[in-house]
């Protein structure tokens, strides 16, 4: 009887645990599925950022919800019309990515987001800020390449940055194309660690390349 009680308690506990993780996976999947359409409307991106923040704060030891909360926030920042608010949003993204970083140190995907956050700060006033934030953005991008050479996303960021840099400053399609091609090759070979792990950017690379033709 005693054994039976222990066994049943264990079973219930494990069911509870897997239910918990099922719930986590389901919630994450639901929000990840909404990501593509959210990019059409900044307000929806903020809704997703808030959803991921909720999951992150409830779970506390999962890095992915923090990662996606930061990802949504920084993209929301890029899309903001009111430049006065961008720094605030980027700072919020920094809070999230730092939490993700402490749960999953030395991660290439996290370095990518850090690079994006620096670019976001820079966009507020490129003339004045490129020296500080440009260096920070590049530094994190290069770090991301080192941390995981198979990760296509730092190459996507690099190619994207080059495409939107004026030709006189060493940018433009000509210099961007080879980098974007490399990114595309890496996307083809890339397998995310789980269905929840980062796996975005391929479509954007294709669009960027199409825009260069």
């Amino acid at each position: 009887m005693k054994k039976f009680i222990i066994a049943s308690v264990l079973v219930t506990l494990s069911i509870a645990a897997s239910a918990q993780s099922d719930k986590y996976v389901a919630a994450m999947q639901k929000n990840l599925a909404a990501m593509d359409t959210a990019f059409a409307n900044p307000a929806n991106l903020l809704v997703l950022a808030n959803n991921f923040e909720r999951i992150a704060n409830a779970e506390k030891n999962q890095w992915l919800p923090y990662y996606y909360a930061a990802f949504c926030q920084v993209n929301y920042g890029f899309m903001l019309q009111d430049k006065d608010k961008v720094d605030d949003v980027a700072d919020k993204a920094t809070d999230f990515i730092n939490k993700a970083d402490s749960l999953m140190p030395n991660n290439s995907e996290i370095s990518c987001i850090k690079s994006m956050i620096a670019s976001c700060h820079m966009m507020v006033n490129p003339m004045q800020r490129w020296q500080e934030y440009g260096a920070e953005s590049n530094g994190n991008m290069e770090k991301a390449m080192q941390q995981d050479p198979a990760n296509p996303r730092p190459y996507f960021l690099k190619g994207q940055g080059l495409k939107y840099t004026p030709e006189q400053f060493g940018g433009g399609c000509k210099t961007a194309q080879p980098v974007l091609q490399t990114a595309l090759e890496k996307y083809a070979a890339f397998k995310p660690a789980s269905e929840l792990d980062p796996n975005w950017g391929k479509k954007q690379v294709e669009q960027l390349l199409a825009g260069c033709k």
Partner: protein, 752 residues
């Protein structure tokens, strides 16, 4: 057993069907909807984001005691306990604004800030070096802003009817004496310090903080840089000299050291561009500086800076009394300046900061009367010719210490207080043609106590209230100076401000020592401001009234030296100022316009009556235009400065009336000057360039417009001569290179 299963099933079904809807509306204190606020049922996944009308709704299966959390950027966290049973719940919230640096109104009445980081800054750091009329000189850059005069005959900032000595300059909290280079009379000198040393500059045209004192009109507050972003070496070559230096940042990024040196020789420039003065000794300036900075435990920082320089020059000009003879002026100046500052955060939001500065300035001036062949002449009849042969040697030691405690209170509010001690010892030896010499010593010990509080009542109402008290050993007097300023947010981008303050100042060294009993001179400021500030446009208007009391009057002592004899002077200044900067209307163009109207009169020094002083023009305006042309990698800058004519006077002692009278007066022509500069950055945008180069071309007074600053009179007053710029135009060409240190070794090796 069956019943147990049944119970289990029903409870499952029940829990599925028992979803509760939670909804509500989120508004701010002014009842406006807050969009994008996040509502969370604490420690669950459940929640929602408000839509553009501030409404939200979500369902949850959680039960019992729960907490609703609402967050939104710029607002305080809202929490409410709820009990979830089986009925829908409404939770509406009014969020309280968070008072943050990003959202709170900035107190800026009477001051212009140049900074890359701070909100409310009107200029960026780089603006100081790209304003063409300034030629890379810190104080000159501020002459393109409202409030200061276009005075070309002497250095310093003449602010709102004040003299240059009424403007004081502070580095890291301590006052800097002899901020400007020494030079020939009638020629405005540049500031000694490289603008790239500083990360933030505040130029106050009135109503400045109780942290600073001894300036009746204006304070220029410079803050030195912290650790550099990376190790770097730089080298500059220009038509006026060469310079170079390096900064080394430690690998752990906790300390840095650096040094730089400059050698300025105007031989080439003065040979190409004709000067009004005949330089028989070309101005040569050598300077060296070094710095050491490190972070301390607990996030503090210690910064040390040392500077030493030597200037030599000799210039000759026609003697106005004889016209056939010449005045020959030679100067040797040695100046050193050392500053240590320490900032340290402490427990419970306290911060401690202290600064220690020492400087020494030696000027050796020799003046000779020479004939047409440049041979020294001693003429004793009339005897004023004899006094043209003299030497003046001065030596000044200045020491200052400052201690301040800072406490952060709720929100942005704060409290700071501290003390200041300055000790100076200035000695001079004046030697006449016959070898007789007069020594003068002026010693002063000043102690000051100050306290100030920042009070942020809401995001839209802020006040700064302070008081300062000073004791002067020289005057044997105490003063007490209250200061206050207020800012109120009118709209999203606009604010109104008011500032008031009393300011005291001691007599100028050159009118001392004296036997008269003196008090502080005094100014009272009232300033009203309207400002509209977005990231791309700035509109600022200020109205001010300044009252001067107890200004110093001068007379002659037994040795025929002009000294202070009392506090009988007085005066006023009132006016209106406008500043408009726009980076938006024309693409890739940044321009600003400033205009000042000034109505001022004063009676001080040897003035026979209350008059508009010769350093004050009624209307002053400046226009600055900057455009970066990307394909050329070049920034073009243009500035135009204008001022209406200034009055000039000849004041002489009338023996029959037994007082000073005006024997002649007039008004100069209007002042016009157009300056141009271009900065070419060939390496811009290159990823990790080995060398970053900046080529600079600058031309002052492009159109060669005639500029008359004032007039000098002959001793008998029968002749007057205009004081003008030293050359019609001046051109500057230079190249400045910086190398990242990881590649410096290569660059050095390649060049050897």
């Amino acid at each position: 057993m069956k019943s147990v299963l049944l119970l289990l099933f029903t409870s499952l079904i029940f829990s599925v069907s028992a979803q509760v809807k939670i909804s509500g509306k989120v508004t701010d204190a002014k009842n406006r909807p807050v969009a994008g606020a996040s509502i969370t049922l604490k420690n669950t996944y459940d929640g929602a984001t408000t839509d553009s009308t501030g409404n939200y709704a979500f369902t949850t299966t959680e039960k019992g005691e729960q907490v609703i959390e609402i967050t939104s950027t710029g607002f305080k966290l809202f929490e409410q306990k709820i009990t979830i049973a089986n009925t829908d719940i409404k939770v509406s919230a009014t969020l309280k604004e968070l008072v943050t640096e990003l959202t709170a109104v900035v107190i800026s009445t009477g001051s212009f800030e140049a900074s890359d980081k701070k909100k409310g800054a009107v200029l960026s750091d780089i603006d100081i070096v790209t304003t063409p009329s300034a030629n890379g000189d810190i104080t000159s850059a501020f002459k393109s802003l409202p409030g200061s005069q276009q005075v070309g005959e002497s250095e310093g900032l003449f602010v709102r009817g004040g003299t240059a000595t009424e403007s004081k300059i502070f580095i890291d909290g301590t006052q800097v004496n002899n901020f400007f280079f020494s030079g020939s009379p009638g020629v405005a000198q540049r500031g000694r310090f490289n603008p790239f040393l500083f990360k933030g500059t505040v130029f106050s045209t009135g109503g400045y903080s109780a942290l600073y004192g001894q300036a009746l009109s204006s304070a220029l507050i410079l803050e030195s840089k912290d650790l550099p972003e990376r190790s770097e070496a730089d080298l500059g070559v220009s038509v006026v000299g060469v310079g170079g230096g390096m900064q080394h940042l430690a690998k752990d990024k906790k300390s840095s050291w650096g040094f730089s040196g400059n050698y300025t020789n105007l031989w080439l420039a003065f040979n190409v561009i004709k000067q009004k003065l005949d330089y028989f000794k070309i101005p040569v300036i050598s300077d060296l500086d070094a710095n050491f900075r490190f972070t301390t435990k607990g996030g503090g920082m210690i910064k040390m800076y040392s500077y030493i320089s030597q200037t030599t020059l000799g210039s000759r000009t026609y003697d106005l009394d004889s016209l056939s003879m010449k005045d020959a002026f030679t100067l040797k100046n040695v100046n050193q300046y050392h500053n240590i500052s320490w900032k340290q955060p402490m427990k419970n939001k306290w911060k401690f900061s202290t600064g220690l500065s020492y400087s020494n300035n030696k000027d050796n001036i020799d003046n000779e009367l020479q004939d047409g062949n440049n041979v020294k002449q001693v003429i004793t009849n009339p005897n004023f010719y004899a006094y043209k042969n003299f030497s003046l040697h001065t030596n000044g030691d200045y020491f200052q210490n400052r201690i301040m405690f800072d406490k952060k209170l709720k929100g942005l509010s704060g409290l700071r207080f501290g003390s200041e001690l300055s000790v100076s010892n200035e000695q001079s030896t004046y030697t006449l043609y016959d070898g007789s010499s007069y020594k003068g010593t002026v010693k002063e010990t000043m102690a000051a106590l100050f306290g100030e509080s920042d009070i942020y009542l809401t995001n839209s109402l802020a006040a700064k209230v302070g008081v300062r008290t000073e004791h002067s050993d020289l005057l044997k007097k105490w003063n007490i100076a209250p200061r206050a300023s207020l800012a109120y947010q009118l709209g999203k981008y606009s604010s109104a401000g008011f500032a008031y303050g009393i300011f005291y100042q001691n007599p100028e060294r050159k009118y001392l020592p004296t036997t008269s009993v003196l008090d502080f001179s005094k100014a009272t400021h009232y300033i009203l401001q309207y400002q509209m500030l977005t990231s791309v446009q700035t509109l600022r208007m200020e109205l001010f009234y300044k009252k001067y009391n107890d200004l110093y009057k001068t007379g002659f002592n037994n040795f025929n030296q002009e000294v202070v004899i009392g506090n009988g002077g007085f005066g006023y200044a009132k006016g209106f100022e406008l500043f408009w900067r726009d980076k938006k209307t024309i693409k890739n163009v940044d321009y600003w316009i400033s205009y000042s109207y000034l109505d001022t009169q004063r009676d001080f020094l040897n003035f026979p009556a209350s008059i508009q002083p010769s350093f004050a023009a009624k209307h002053t305006a400046a226009f600055v235009f900057k455009k970066f042309i990307m394909p050329w990698k070049t920034q073009f800058n243009l500035s135009y400065n204008f001022a209406t004519g200034r009055p000039y006077y000849r004041i002489a002692y009338d023996n029959t009336l037994q007082k000073n009278v005006f024997t002649d007066r007039g008004t100069t022509i209007n002042y016009n000057s157009c300056s141009f500069s271009a900065n070419y950055l060939p390496n811009i945008g290159k990823k990790n360039p080995k060398v970053f180069a900046v080529w600079v071309l600058g031309i002052n007074n492009v159109f060669g417009q005639k500029q008359i600053y004032t007039y000098n009179y002959s001793t008998d007053g029968t002749r007057k001569q205009p004081v003008t710029a030293q050359s019609t135009r001046f051109a500057f060409i230079g190249c400045f290179l910086s190398f990242g240190t990881d590649r410096t070794q290569d660059a050095i090796n390649n060049n050897l």
